[in-house]
Symmetry: C2
Subunit: 204 residues, 2 copies
C-alpha cells in the first residue's frame, strides 16, 4: 500500500477551499492524500457540518478567550493524535502561535486571495480592486511567523475586468483558489522540490 | 490632418523602452503620436545618441547639484517649447518635483518592472526574484506624487521559471515592458477611458 499523506484542515467559516480539496481527493484528481481531521475555532462554522456530511472527523476547539499558545497546544495534540502530516489552513481566521508553526516546520500551508506580497491581510480582493490593479490572483504559501509571508508554492493570476465589481472579482479569484490549493498540496506531498532562500524550486 | 500627440521622452540611460516606442511609431504599430523631444539628466546617456541617430531632437539638462524644482522648471520649459502633450519616463532615474507633476496632470507616464504595488523602488526584478514570486511582470502607470504609485494603465505578467536567475527574469520582463509601454500610450492618447478612484476604466 502506498503512503498516504494525512491532511489536517483548519477552518473558521464555510471552508470553500476545504470543499474543493475534498472534491479533488474524491475524484482522484488530488492523489496520495486523505483528510484525517477538520478542525475549527468556531463551533458554528458551516465547514464543520459539511465535513461531517462527508463522513469526515470534524472537531470544534473554541478559543473562548483562552491564551493563543494554550488553544494552539490543544489543536496540535489533536492533529498529532490523527497522525496529520500536512496542515491546511482554509479560511482559518486566527493567527498561529510560534509554537504551532514550529511544531509543523514547512508542513503548514495557507492560501491568500492576492498575488503576494501585494495586499496581505484582510479583504485582499477589496484592497486589490480599490488599488486598481489590472492583474489579481491568489497565492499558496508555507506558513512562517510573519503574516501572509512564507515561501510561495504556487500563484495563479486573474485579470481584473473593466466590468468587475469587488464581488465578481472575488468570485473569479476564488475559482482559481480552488484549483491552486490542490495543485500546491500535490506539489508538496510529491516532495519533489527544494527551497533556496525564499524560492520554491521544483526538482527535475 | 489628424491630431498627433506629441511625446516628450525623459531618460537617464540607454532608453530601451524609448527605442521600443520609437520602433513601434516607425512601424505604424503605435499610431497618432510622434516623438517631439528626448531629454536626459545625463549628457552621456546612450539613449540621447540613439535618439540623434534617429533624427530626433535630443537634449541633455544636467542636474549638477541644482535644486530639483529649478532643474525641473528648465525641463518643463523645454517640453512646453516642443508642444509636448504626454511625458514618457523611460528609465529616468530622478524623482520629479511636485511642480513638474502638476504641470502635466495625468499626462506623465512611467513604467516599472514589477506588478505594482509589489516591489516598488530600485531593483524591482531582483526584489521579485529574491522574494520567490511565481509571477512577475511590469506596470505602466500615471505618475503621481508618490513613488511608483499612480493609477495603473496596464500590467503584463511574466512567469518566473525554475531555471531563471535574475538576469533571465529581468530580460523576459523587459520584453513585456517593450510591448506594455506602447499599449499604454495608445490607450492614453485614445482618450477613451475614465478614472474612478484609482481605477482606469476603458470606455465602451
Amino acid at each position: 500500500m502506498e503512503f498516504m499523506t494525512r491532511l489536517g484542515i483548519l477552518l473558521s467559516g464555510r471552508g470553500s477551499n476545504f470543499l474543493a480539496i475534498a472534491d479533488n481527493i474524491a475524484s482522484g484528481q488530488l492523489a496520495d492524500c486523505e483528510i484525517a481531521v477538520v478542525l475549527s475555532n468556531k463551533a458554528d462554522a458551516p465547514g464543520l457540518d459539511a465535513a461531517r456530511r462527508r463522513g469526515l472527523k470534524a472537531i470544534a476547539i473554541e478559543a473562548n478567550g483562552r491564551k493563543r499558545a494554550e488553544h494552539d497546544e490543544e489543536i496540535i495534540d489533536i492533529l498529532r493524535a490523527h497522525h496529520v502530516d500536512l496542515v491546511i489552513l482554509a479560511g482559518y481566521m486566527r493567527l498561529l502561535s510560534r509554537g504551532f508553526i514550529q511544531a509543523f516546520p514547512l508542513r503548514i500551508l495557507n492560501i491568500h486571495p492576492s498575488l503576494l506580497p501585494a495586499f496581505p491581510g484582510l479583504d485582499a480582493q477589496q484592497q486589490a480592486f480599490n488599488y486598481g490593479v489590472h492583474v489579481a490572483g491568489c497565492t499558496v504559501h508555507f506558513v512562517d511567523e510573519q503574516l501572509d509571508h512564507g515561501v510561495i508554492i504556487t500563484q495563479r493570476t486573474v485579470p481584473v475586468l473593466p466590468t468587475d465589481d469587488e464581488p465578481t472579482l472575488a468570485h473569479r479569484i476564488l475559482e482559481q483558489e480552488h484549483i491552486a490549493y490542490s495543485e500546491a498540496i500535490a506539489k508538496v506531498i510529491s516532495g519533489n522540490y527544494e527551497i533556496q532562500g525564499r524560492r520554491y524550486i521544483p526538482k527535475k
